[in-house]
């Protein structure tokens, strides 16, 4: 090994990244090269001195539990936060050349390029509602299905490519969702044929018929055509960058359906929640045509939470804060004080992120007054303001 080659590999040697053969070569060179020896010794020394950096500091007690709690809250928002607004069509039918369900809430969703004269079914669905109306008025989900047939060509279409399932509704609580998901997953695993994809689709967690407003889900059994799923439009979001950074192909959806609790399943389902402020019409499958549901506080809260989350991820903190506060009011109406408190905490975080610290303090104080038992949420709100609160006497 030459001196230059050795120099190149000293860092790898210091960090143990060389295979045995190359490590032996470098070490062999080191024995006869004072310069390399010196450099290696310097690397080792500074690494030893830097040892305190590897001595990991402990986060505050119970931090992992708080993460798990937040994950459950996240799962709740994702899975049952869109009641009445999620379009989820499932179940099997012969598509007769169905191109793609076109669900128009945030934008056009296209499953795959249409052949010009190809017959198709068009399922148009969107969600109607508005911020003001959602709180006071019924959210009406109307569904229509426009079908254009051409049996001859449709016969050539893959019969299982798309599926329609009438989804049950969201659970009343996260814990119910957890239980439902567990039970259904176990059941699905027991019944699923081995040939199914490894991440066999269990039903969307915590779905229960009796509580359900009209809800349709569009599921696509094969991932031949990418469907623009929820969250894909948030271009500047960190995960999008991540996908790009780590492996470009990761930005593609997984083929396997994910129907489980905490991983937010985005691959095969359309979960589209309209902004409460967005006026939209709904066209959906005939199975749900004419069905309407009155928006409960839970429905309104879910809509606000979903929209707030989107606004937050988009960096629109003031809007997000406003929506979280509305969500908190709605949650309070339905006696879900824990969620209400967390929504206020999120509002504090958003206001703080927007630099509106006075407003953030007011909301935090409101949170403390109204939900004194919700210590974790209050703690999160306080944490959001920690950097701008007047210095407390240091408790050393």
């Amino acid at each position: 090994m030459t001196h230059a080659e050795s120099q190149e590999l000293l860092l790898d040697l210091a960090y143990g990244e060389l295979d045995a053969e190359r490590a032996a070569l470098v070490k062999s060179h080191l024995q006869g090269c004072a310069e390399c020896q010196q450099e290696k010794a310097a690397l080792d020394e500074v690494r030893r001195l830097a040892a305190p950096v590897r001595e990991l500091e402990e986060p505050s007690p119970g931090f992992d539990d708080r993460i798990l709690q937040a994950a459950r809250a996240q799962a709740k928002l994702e899975h049952d936060g869109n009641v009445g607004q999620v379009i989820d069509v499932a179940g099997s039918f012969r598509p007769l050349g169905v191109e793609a369900a076109r669900i128009d809430a945030h934008g056009p969703v296209k499953a795959r390029p249409a052949e010009r004269r190809r017959p198709r079914w068009v399922v148009r669905a969107a969600v109607g509602g508005s911020v003001a109306a959602a709180a006071a008025l019924a959210m009406v989900v109307g569904n229509t299905l426009e079908v254009r047939r051409n049996a001859e060509k449709a016969a050539a279409a893959p019969s299982e490519e798309y599926a329609i399932r009438v989804g049950p509704s969201a659970p009343a609580s996260v814990d119910a969702a957890l239980r439902d998901a567990e039970a259904k997953r176990a059941e699905a695993q027991a019944q699923a044929p081995k040939a199914e994809a490894p991440a066999a689709p269990s039903p969307p967690p915590g779905l229960r018929e009796k509580e359900m407003p009209a809800q349709l889900r569009v599921a696509k059994r094969k991932a031949a055509a990418p469907l623009a799923g929820r969250g894909e439009g948030s271009g500047g979001d960190a995960p999008a960058k991540l996908s790009k950074d780590v492996a470009p192909s990761q930005s593609a959806r997984m083929d396997d359906p994910q129907g489980n609790l905490e991983p937010v399943p985005t691959s095969e389902r359309h979960r589209i929640a309209s902004s409460p402020g967005a006026a939209a019409a709904v066209e959906s499958a005939p199975a749900a045509a004419g069905r309407s549901a009155v928006a409960s506080p839970a429905v309104a809260a879910s809509g606000y939470e979903s929209s707030a989350q989107q606004a937050r991820h988009a960096g629109n903190y003031l809007l997000a804060a406003d929506l979280y506060r509305r969500a908190a009011d709605a949650r309070r109406q339905e006696k879900d004080l824990g969620s209400a408190a967390w929504n206020l905490a999120h509002a504090v975080e958003c206001l703080s992120a927007a630099g509106r610290f006075d407003d953030a303090r007011q909301v935090r104080d409101e949170l403390g007054r109204t939900y004194p038992a919700e210590a974790t949420a209050l703690s999160a709100a306080r944490r959001a303001l920690r950097e701008v609160e007047p210095a407390q006497p240091a408790a050393r």
């Binding site: 790898d12 960090y15 990244e17 690397l43 020394e45 500074v46 030893r48 001195l49 830097a50 040892a51 305190p52 950096v53 001595e55 990991l56 500091e57 986060p59 505050s60 931090f63 992992d64 708080r66 937040a70 994950a71 996240q74 799962a75 994702e78 998901a181 567990e182 997953r185 991440a199 269990s202 969250g231 960190a238 995960p239 960058k241 991540l242 996908s243 950074d245 780590v246 492996a247 990761q250 593609a252 997984m254 396997d256 994910q258 489980n260 609790l261 905490e262 991983p263 937010v264 399943p265 985005t266 691959s267 975080e349 610290f357 920690r386 950097e387 701008v388 210095a391 407390q392 050393r396």
Partner: protein
């Protein structure tokens, strides 16, 4: 639910989690919350935000779990999320309208900064109080935190996250040679900073605090 073995690899846990196994997720959180927290802590240098950002890392994991296709190591993927969130947060901190954490509180521009005040409130906030409260350790950590961003990032991904240079290159979008070059600069910068502070292996050996574990590398 099948029990999740504590020695299951990250990737196995992730597969289980992708299938809905909450226990696997809890295991990943338990395994990674502390190192990710420390990575964020050293990157942001704004201790008050670190737990929130770390929590956000795991929330992003939840949101994007379905997209993880096991083409990269789980830890690489997770730290890529952490790295991106730190960059976002640093950018946000720079553009905030409220006073900078580094801005002196006093009108004359001297003395204690808002960041100092914040740090004083946080139990694990600043270097002075970390890992045994040794002044030498504090100096070392400050020296790391004073490294240029690109060097500190590589240094922390290697030393705290324990990622190989190849994975760091993948995360940062730089070539492996560039990553190694930054690492060399980082180590050299640290060596000089510590030498200027009078810290060497000889002085470290005299340090009574057991927190400094020389020879552990």
């Amino acid at each position: 639910m099948a029990a999740v073995r504590g020695d299951a690899s990250d990737e196995v846990l992730m597969v289980r989690y992708q299938r809905g196994d909450r226990e696997a997720f809890a295991m990943l959180v338990k395994r990674y919350n502390k190192p990710v927290y420390n990575f964020v802590l050293r990157q942001l240098k704004a201790p008050a935000l670190c737990e929130d950002v770390t929590q956000d890392v795991f929330m992003r994991l939840v949101q994007n779990a379905a997209e993880f296709k096991h083409e990269a190591r789980f830890s690489t993927w997770l730290y890529a999320i952490a790295r991106n969130l730190c960059i976002d947060q640093l950018r946000r901190l720079q553009h905030r309208r409220h006073p900078s954490l580094d801005q002196p509180l006093a009108a004359d521009g001297e003395g204690r900064t808002l960041g100092d005040s914040v740090a004083a409130q946080h139990p694990s906030a600043n270097a002075e109080r970390s890992a045994g409260s040794s002044e030498m350790q504090a100096t070392i950590i400050r020296a790391v935190e004073a490294l240029p961003d690109d060097q500190r990032e590589v240094f922390l991904l290697r030393e705290v996250a324990d990622l190989p240079f190849r994975d760091i290159a993948e995360i940062t979008g730089a070539s492996e040679n560039t990553v190694k070059s930054r690492m060399r600069y980082a180590l050299e910068g640290l060596r000089k900073a510590l030498a200027a502070a009078g810290i060497s292996e000889e002085t470290a050996a005299e340090e009574p605090d057991p927190g400094v574990r020389l020879g552990r590398a």
